[in-house]
Amino acid sequence: MSQSHRLTSGGTIDRSASLNFRFDGKSFSGFKGDTLASALVANGVKLVGRSFKYHRPRGILTAGSEEPNALVELRSGARREPNTKATTAELYDGLEAASQNRWPSLNFDVMSINQLFAPIFVAGFYYKTFMWPAKFWEAIYEPAIRRAAGLGRAANIADPDHYDKAWAHCDVLIAGSGPAGLAAALAAGRSGARVILCEEDFAPGGRLLADGGTIDGLPATEWLSRTLTELAAMPDVRIMTRTTLFGVYDGGTYGAIERVNDHVPSPPEHEVRQRLWRIVAKRCVVAAGALERPIVFAGNDTPGVMMASAMRTYVTRYAAAPARRIALFTNNEDGWRTVETVLGAGLQVAAVIDARAEVSPAHRSLASKGGFPVLHGAVSGVDGGKTGVRKISVSLTGGARAEVEADGLAISGGWNPTVGLTSYHRGRPKWRDDIAAFVPDGAPPGMMAAGAANGAFGLGACLREGFEAGAAAARDAGRSGSVGSMPVADDEAFALTSLWYVADKGKAFVDQQHDVTASDVELAQREGFQSVEHLKRYTTLGMATDQGKTSNVTGLAMMAAVSGRSIPETGTTIYRPPYVPVAIGAFAGHHRDEAFHATRLTPSHHWAAEQGAVFVDTGLWKRAQWYPRAGEKDWLESVTREVRAVRGGVGFCDVSTLGKIDVHGPDAGAFLDRVYINTFSNLAVGKARYGLMLREDGIVYDDGTTSRLAEDHYFLTTTTAKAGLVMQHLEFCRQVLFPELDVQLTSVSDQWAQFSIAGPKTRDLLKEIVDPSEDLSNEGFPFMGARAVKLRGGFTARLFRISFSGEMAFEISVPARHGEAMARNLMIAGKPLGVTPYGTEALGVMRIEKGHIAGPELSGTTTAADLGLGKMMSTKKDFIGRVMAGREALVAPDRQVVVGIKPTDTSRRLRSGAHIIPKGEIPGPDNDQGYVTSVCFSPMLEQWIGLALVERGRERIGEIVHAHDPIRGEDYDVELCNPVFYDPDGGRQRG
């Protein structure tokens, strides 16, 4: 299809690169350098979407990221992206976009019937109407409303693209590459500063691309290309296009989103779609410009009504004519630029409606030369529908009415400086009467605004402020090179007479994206929602994806008018980042799926995988859970076999995930005495001891075995889950609480591979591994012994005679790089003994059979006494948690304590989480006496057994109680019993 509205010359588009695209299934063509919006304009497309609530036909209002109307679904399938602004989406060959919120088609939208019911769809409509019956809300009202109202549809399959996160550091960060931003970059760059300049657009230049001008005697476009050349030659200046600075955070850290490959159909292989930047800058110059604001009047949302500056952008930058016969409605001098642009492009000016009393003689003569009338007054209505503007009603100053025939209406209500970045630390902008706009009033530390973002609207002022800000920022950052000469341009007049709203019949829209009308603002005022924060929430003004960039200030000015307050009295809402929507995928970066968090592999992982182990995630670790064998029908069969093999012969398990800390120094023993409830200073060298740690509030923190390897060297182990936290806690104790102790801590969790070897044949297996000179007998290596041993072949290992399984057991520890070899050697050496690798499930079964506590019992609510370990608490020394552990409630006789449970029906399966209730009582919160913490099928007892925390449990051994499991709907009786189910006198582990 031909580009009916493309001008024959001009623009920065590349006419040699024709691109085909589809909008709502229809084929069009555009050029490289177009946005989707400019290409639609060039093809004469005016209707691009339907509005949020009333399904009114809407066209393109702006040419930037402030666009409220021209939102499309871009791409398809997994890459379908809703609410994409056509005004910022770069055109590429094969682009596919669809309009939103219409059915069955944009041209004929059934829901536009909502317009007939418009009187009821006012602010607070939902709150007022769908009150009763309450249960209808979730089931009926909300789904129906959500279907009818809304924007685009998100993709419902996983995003196939990659997103990256990166850091950058610089002296001077600049937001925006308009005249102010470029002047700032010149000054800072010349002085030797490291500069990063972020530009949201794909082309640098800002308003220079549309409004031109003369700088240093050169046409603006020539100055622009010279400046970019100069900046490109500076090695420490980096210009990042397609990058929006969206937020400012503490310590001079800024957030920016770089759209690396949004301008191509899909990212090339190994490239990311978008990159989230965290930029640390000593100084930041906000040269983000200003956004032109509309004037609200009836029918101001008709396709063909466009911001005057956007109209100039389409004509000058893209050589695309939004209309052929254009009227201008302005209240300021700047709007008149549009006349020159329109005439210069050979298009017609229908009329200028100027709300001010006076128009300059120069403009008068321009009007007479152009042959169009200048009407003093205001636009009061627009005649047109989905095909666009046809006729414009004007109410003239003095009361008369006039009509103007036109197919496009440019509006200019003045400019709002982009005060977002400067206000993100709860800053409130201040009102300036002379330009009728909010300007920054201070900024986060290190930040300053310059140019239009600071309320300086003329080209000369922008260059001056930008250059001075860039020079100051570089100086503050310690760069003192010469900044050279400042670029110079004339200052234009900006004579504005405030005009926010032209009251007349018909719907006049303040917030076009959320369909908030002038009457909604009035209604909010009448109903008492006068605060701007209330206005926003009651009417939803400024709450959509555009965050009210074209509506907030107008809305609050209108509220000020109807509530009889001044605009500064009315104030602004709080500004919050991000400035533009940022995809969640960009925040996640590569941290998704299997890379969501780091994965830690045990030293024997690859060997275990070869064995067909099933792995379980334990924190960051992957641990072998069990090792299924052919013919086994389920996990329980595998686990039961592993337990029987250990208890009847020998097995081994990788326990390297336990936290390991070397404690060195003459005061190592004294230090451990203070952090454990029991004593370690009297532990003999070559011995290990179980230790229990409390929090300072008296609750159990962690447990583990600590061995004394030398007079001044202990080797401490922690649970897998608490490894990092215990290290942090111990460092706190060492550094902050007990600096007088001469002790050092070293985390060695990753340095040692550790295997538990358990079962009556453990020594037979170890003899094949350990050098024959080592005495492993009960005398030579007694229970709880710990020392270095020589291995066959000459390596040294550490051997600990400790047992979690209750069997005759050792733990052997070798440098982590030998861990896999150790697993393989244990398998080879143990083959004649039928050695069996076992996983964490079998480990858990054996610890429950032995009544050993673990994570479920160390729940952050239990005391040492609750766990049956109260006697370990030393009374001869101070230790962390000692005093608080003695509090009344922590030593109360009716506390829930660890006890064993067995179902009275021995064939029944137990499940963790069931509540313990006295037998014969109806379950309820009043008689809930505890809960089941750990369960397993015990191969030794051949039935399910468990541990539970039960009130006075130890005094009630033998009592039958009721287990109530409302989640699974189970009720059954269990007997409270000794938690040590197997080998209660511990003969096996000592044998």
Binding site: D250, F732, Q735, F738, P739, E740, V883, M884
Partner: protein
Amino acid sequence: MRIVCPFCGERELGEFTYLGDAKPQRPTADASEDAVYDYVYLRDNVAGVMSENWYHGGGCRTWLKVTRNTLTHEISAVEPAAGTGARQVAK
């Protein structure tokens, strides 16, 4: 937020772990239960400048005493917390 670790230099927030108010000091072994209770549970919730304990776990593993304005997040001093949590450092 960025913290200037006295040993590692300026580092990003993610390297540090926050503990809280650095003012409470652990009572000596002969202290009353009330004194220990106060130490364990009573914390000032300052809107303004306060000293806090931060752990540089992603770096040198030093516990730091950071003076920070909780309203502005401005950090005015960072020093090792060595011994600052003890009522009385034993000899």
